[in-house]
Amino acid sequence: MKFLRDLMDKQKPLFEKGGKLESLYYAFEAGETFLFSPNHTTGIKGAQVKDAIDLKRMMITVVVAMIPCLLFGIYNVGHQSLLATGETAGLWENFGDKALIGLQLVLPIIIVAYAAGGLVEATFAVIRKHPINEGFLVTGMLIPLVVPASTPLWQVALATVFAVVIAKEVFGGTGMNILNVAMTARAFLYFAYPAQISGDQVWTYLGDKAAVDGFSGATALAVAYNAGVDGVPVTEALASHNTALGSDMFSFANMFMGWIPGSIGETSTLMALVGALILIGTGVASWKIIVSGFAGAYIMGFVMNLFAVNEYMAMPPQYHWVMGGLAFGIVFMATDPVSASQTETGKWIYGLLIGFLTVIIRVTNPAYPEGIMLAVLFMNVFAPLIDYYVVKANKTRRLQRATV
């Protein structure tokens, strides 16, 4: 590594104050600190030693936690595709083909997301003269996982640029933003280009082949919603759905495993839970938000049962956990420390309300089958309010102590 270091040291004066490429200093700095932890030392006064962690390490941990979802998603994209065209029946048949189809579809999306977002990040860093934010390591991976594999690449690029600029950079970068950046990207796509991210046609990639007779590309959420409208018990509707592709596609177990159509990384509750295990095990994400998020969805599902006026409301509450992106959203989006509630008490309330809202939106609003996206964004906006009252309680305790 000596020669790399020498190379860096040789180039450094170019970018430092007075050098020819001074304006690109932060771009150079990002590359340098990526390759080498800097040689800065602690100050004369204050802590003389520092914890070995830094933001780069923390962010890469989140990316690692997403890998199970990503790998599963890649395979599932291929699996759903071959399933719909009738070329496969078993889960592990045609393994290579499925993985290849998945890779062909997913890899370009990831590359485009990282490239588009990275370019914006670098541009802002150079213009606004601040270091490049590591937060984008996570955002660039999250965005591909929450869009369907059939999303046009230009839309991915546009959404990423929009989200990084509007949701993050205008506030001052990672740590200053109000909304979760990846969720903003998805919401942007949802409202700007609904045809490519909602409905029954976009979740399964068919290529130029024809689907088998009787195929339906609807997601479990849509099936459940329609069951409510038609007055059919949801579990029956789910069981009898898509029998053309084999029975029990939308059984609880299958939905938990994630062998269903949906956005790339969000179908598998199991893989999201593996991610949750990594995040909680490493202490990067708040277990309070994850637990209270799932609890909130269950409680609201249960309350819906009690007041059920249609069949969707009467659906067993645990089905909410495995349908749609609830698990993925709670584990990876709701726990974003910057846009979530920042006080420990607040985290319980924040997670609980995300669970509540998700189920309410799903069950009562026909326009938005997937509730988690709006629930997270909505609670992002309200997190500071929750914190305000938690902080106020702290101040009041201090004040009361003084006056008693």
Binding site: L35, S37, T42, G46, A47, V49, T61, G281
Partner: protein
């Protein structure tokens, strides 16, 4: 009514280089220095001596024009060899070349039974022992005009590699008691003596009379007096409490009993880079070179007066701080590390499991930490970490943000009166975003103090 407080939050930094429980025979220090920068809140120092003057232990060297009763005196007899000033003539150090035989200024013994508070205060301020008394809020040298609501003494030190006070103070029992008796005259409230509840209590503390003995246990910062005050009798706006270290109490005791200013104390010589780690008897302000030179096992080191969390970097010929009871020598960390942020490792110490996930495999491992800053400063991202190492009902991140925004009301309401730098030192250590937390705390305190 003694209290037992068990604290859970916090973190013990387990460093290599603990001091062995023995007094080592390092060559005695030749020069000593008074550093006005040790005394926080000392605003306008006025020097009373010139280069070449001969002084005795206890001769006034300087005072603060803003608090002119309090004298800062020579720790040792000898000759003033240098009055060192920095930029804008800022006073940095007053160096004394020590005599072979230490001689004391005769300050007169004090009969506590007959002396009134006013005369006692005058004796204490003139004799040089007063700066041991620290005022809360703000953590500055106490103002003799105030009467504190209580005086707090932390009888144990939980900082990394901190000396065992039961060892360093042994044999000083009678002076300690005399000092406590003097303190009792200064406050109308209680004197709280807070001991380590997880170990057997040294007799010097357990036998102390006229005090309330409280037991604290838990990881660092359980030994911080600020944390203890928070759990015993928290400081509200407008209230004043004083704190003092046990060594400071003994110094007062020696003035009462012997009528001299005796700056001698036992300090711990610690750190991974030293061949011999032990205790040594020396005086406040001693030059550390005789303890360090020839005792190193590597070349490129940082010498710290104090501990690694709150101490101050000094040179190999630097001087021990007035309040410090240890020196720590660690490797200097000015190196690049290839992909240092990404490598999985068990060699680095981290409070966070994202890096220290495997640390539970070796719970008692002693780490060698260097002075590398471990990354660059970023905006606050991770939440909940500062709270988990601060065993007080305080929201450190909100407080720090209030300080950054210079929001005075917010700082007051969030508890700036209850903390000084050392109470949030652990936050600075664990911070993912590498903020200068202690510097910020002092900035906030100064904003409030001088507003």
């Amino acid at each position: 009514m003694s209290k037992i407080v068990k604290l859970k939050k916090g973190f013990d930094i387990n460093l290599a280089g603990k001091a062995k429980q023995e007094l080592a025979d390092f060559a005695p220090a030749q020069t000593f220095a008074i550093k006005p920068t040790d005394f926080i809140g000392l605003q306008r120092p006025k020097v009373l001596v010139n280069e070449g003057d001969a002084v005795k232990a206890g001769t006034p060297i300087l005072f603060d024009k803003a608090l002119d009763q309090v004298m800062y005196v020579a720790p040792v007899s000898g000759e003033i060899v240098e009055v060192k000033r920095g930029e804008k003539r800022k006073l940095l150090e007053i160096k004394i070349l020590a005599d072979k035989e230490n001689s004391f200024e005769d300050l007169g013994k004090i009969n506590l039974a007959s002396i009134d508070r006013e005369s006692l205060v005058q004796k204490l301020t003139q004799s040089g022992v007063w700066p041991n008394l620290i005022q809360r809020p703000f953590g500055v040298v106490a103002n003799p005009a105030d009467t504190p609501k209580a005086i707090f003494i932390s009888a144990f030190d939980t900082h990394p590699l901190a000396p065992d006070l039961g060892f360093t103070l042994q044999g000083e029992d009678s002076y300690f008691q005399a000092g406590l008796d003097a303190l009792a005259k200064l406050t109308d409230g209680k004197i709280h003596l807070n001991v380590d509840g997880s170990k057997s209590i040294p007799s010097i503390f357990s036998q102390a009379k006229g005090v309330q003995i409280n037991q604290f246990s838990g990881p660092h910062p359980a030994g911080n007096v600020g944390v203890q005050i928070h759990h015993l009798d928290p400081i509200n706006k407008g209230e004043i409490a004083w704190t003092i270290s046990p060594a400071g109490v003994i110094q007062i005791g020696k003035l009462i009993v012997n009528g001299v200013f005796d700056a001698s104390k036992v300090i711990a010589i610690t750190g991974s880079e030293l061949t011999k780690t032990a205790y040594v008897k020396t005086k406040a302000g001693a030059c550390v070179s005789t303890f360090v030179k020839g005792n190193l096992n590597s070349g490129h080191v940082r010498v710290i007066s104090g501990n690694v969390l709150t101490g101050e970097k000094i040179s190999m010929e630097g001087y021990l701080g007035f309040y410090h009871n240890q020196i720590t020598v660690i490797p200097e960390g000015d190196y690049y590390e290839f992909l240092g942020w990404a490598k999985p490792t068990t060699e680095k110490l981290s409070y966070h499991r994202a890096l220290g996930l495997l640390s539970f495999l070796k719970p008692n491992k002693e780490y060698v930490l260097d002075s590398n800053a471990r990354g660059e400063e970023r905006a606050f991202v991770q939440t909940g970490v500062f709270e988990s190492v601060t065993p007080m009902d305080i929201l450190p991140v909100y407080l720090l943000k209030a300080i950054m925004a210079e929001d005075f009301d917010e700082m007051e309401e969030l508890g700036i009166y209850e903390i000084v730098e050392e109470d949030l030192a652990l936050c600075e250590f664990v911070d993912v975003s590498k903020h200068p937390v202690q510097e910020l705390v002092r900035k906030g305190i100064e904003l409030i103090q001088y507003s």
